[in-house]
Symmetry: C2
Subunit: 322 residues, 2 copies
């Protein structure tokens, strides 16, 4: 017999994630009752993952549980915020205990790792999709916005963008990779992205603007540049690509994945020239895993330069309705 | 040509609802940046409406825009909270300007009426569904919980439950009503429910517990009673049924709709005997539209009494996975 809606919530989601003293009433009433951190600003993000759109039907439940929270934590990371609470709206074709157990365990593990408590939600029947809303805090006036960049600021990105998009194409059989270990690594990067929350917090002291890379680095760098009233120039040779991605598909394709792939959940951020030294000293690149890839410029448009050539990338990022 | 995801957000959702000074950054960055009301507790609710589950495919876009916010405002009303901000996650098969225009206008109108600003969201492609998350505030220690009731407290309900369920059955051709005006009235109650926010705020001074009636009055009264460590007895003759519902389907069916219908978004609340006089004086029943329907009792279980008979209602409320 399938679990009822209420038994399901009780069993899998009542004590999910961290236990926080500032969650006065969590799962189980009409709404959650929370105590805002005094003297701090509240940060709120919402993101949905839909089967067949954001993940293939064969993606494991554990991946969906992880990703739906991770993509929201990534939004908070891009603001420099500290996450606190999450709400989950889960739509399921059927209530399957095993699937739910794996989904919830994965979500709750990531929540605990970030001291996030699941404080509310809604469970309904329908085509598989999950929406999470994350709430967090930031010290007044210190939030990282997309709009704070200036022409001349250096542009950085964390991690190795493109891996996740290649991993997804592998799962969809749109990409074939002989090396099984490479393939597994790339798939893992799609299935279990790492939100850069700790780095986002620290970047508040150095970055002028920040965005999380979810629709492709080129498009998202362009969004940051536009919001800052600038353009941007990315250096093709400086794009960080993983050894696995290079081995999987060669340099040209790897760099294309890095630019327009999507699903990375890395941070792209700008730093004024005067603060670059302090950034590199306080947050060593090798330890924090980020790289300088270009700069904001006064000329509008975001371009990729390879030596003296400006390259053409007509597809600038993922658009759900393009 | 369909609107792109970003043009769509810009056009329909950037300036949606009230303009609030405490929304420091709204739609358009990675997350919203908000200023919590000092010295108040934060209240957060999330609810999803899925096509074919919560509304029929032929429901107008304006209804979905209204309902997805209304059902969340109803959760805040049940807590006695004052709503402030909303986030919207909208999943659409296609981007259709006309549909989106009607959806957004309806959502934004209801948002403005409650001084709510849409501060963020996510728009994706996929099977039609909408999730809203609403945030609001309540004075510390005054939130209405489900758990505050005691045996002997009187039980009340607002409005005329059952209308919405009958309206839905009309739309699904599961109920036939000769009187066109009646039918229109019932459909309207399903399509455009009224969240009882103003009453919920005032009930903080009188009610011991409160729940919003979304899954059927009998089942939701039972949830309130259980959370309060009680049972409840509802008086069949006292159930408020609308003239339209009576005319549409006769008394027995009307009272059954009132008990187990669902989709009402009314408030069910308990009041200690000592405070009933003050409640009735401060909030006249004729003006505020609520009615005494029974009482909490120490005996577990929630029953419906008709004269000396305890009636059998095996179906106690809507369960997505029953």
């Amino acid at each position: 017999m399938p679990l009822s809606e209420f038994a399901l919530i009780d069993r899998f989601f009542r004590d999910c994630g961290a236990r926080r003293g500032d969650a006065l009433v969590g799962v189980g009433d009409d709404a959650a009752l929370l105590r805002c951190a005094p003297g701090r600003e509240l940060v709120a993000a919402i993101d949905t993952l839909v089967e067949g759109v954001h993940f293939p039907a064969e993606a494991p439940a554990a991946s969906l549980g992880h990703r739906v929270l991770a993509v929201n934590l990534s939004d908070l990371a891009a603001m420099g915020a500290e996450p606190a609470w999450a709400l989950l709206a889960l739509t399921l074709p059927r209530s399957e205990e095993r699937w739910l157990g794996e989904f919830a365990e994965s979500l709750c593990t990531l929540a605990r790792a970030h001291d996030v408590q699941l404080v509310g939600g809604d469970t309904t029947s329908g085509p598989l999709s999950a929406t999470v809303q994350v709430l967090g805090f930031v010290e007044p006036g210190t939030a990282l916005l997309r709009s704070g960049g200036r022409a001349g600021d250096a542009l950085f990105v964390t991690g190795t963008p493109g891996d996740a998009a290649a991993g997804l194409q592998l799962m969809q059989s749109r990409l074939a990779v002989a090396d099984a270990q490479c393939a597994a690594q790339l798939r893992e990067r799609f299935l279990f992205p790492t939100p850069r929350v700790a780095l986002g917090r620290r970047l508040r002291a150095y970055a002028s603007a920040c965005i999380d890379v979810s629709d492709g680095l080129l498009g998202d760098a362009d969004k940051l540049a536009r919001a800052s009233g600038c353009g941007a120039e990315l250096d093709y040779a400086e794009l960080p690509v993983s050894a696995a991605l290079l081995r999987a598909c060669g340099e040209a394709r790897a760099r294309e994945f890095a630019l327009i792939g999507g699903d990375d959940y890395e941070l792209c951020f700008s730093v004024p020239p005067a603060r670059i030294g302090a950034l590199l000293e306080a947050l060593p690149q090798a330890q924090w895993g980020y790289r300088r890839i270009g700069a904001l410029r006064s000329v509008p448009e975001t371009v990729v330069r390879r030596g003296q050539t400006v390259m053409d990338f007509s597809h600038r990022g993922f658009d759900h309705f393009a």
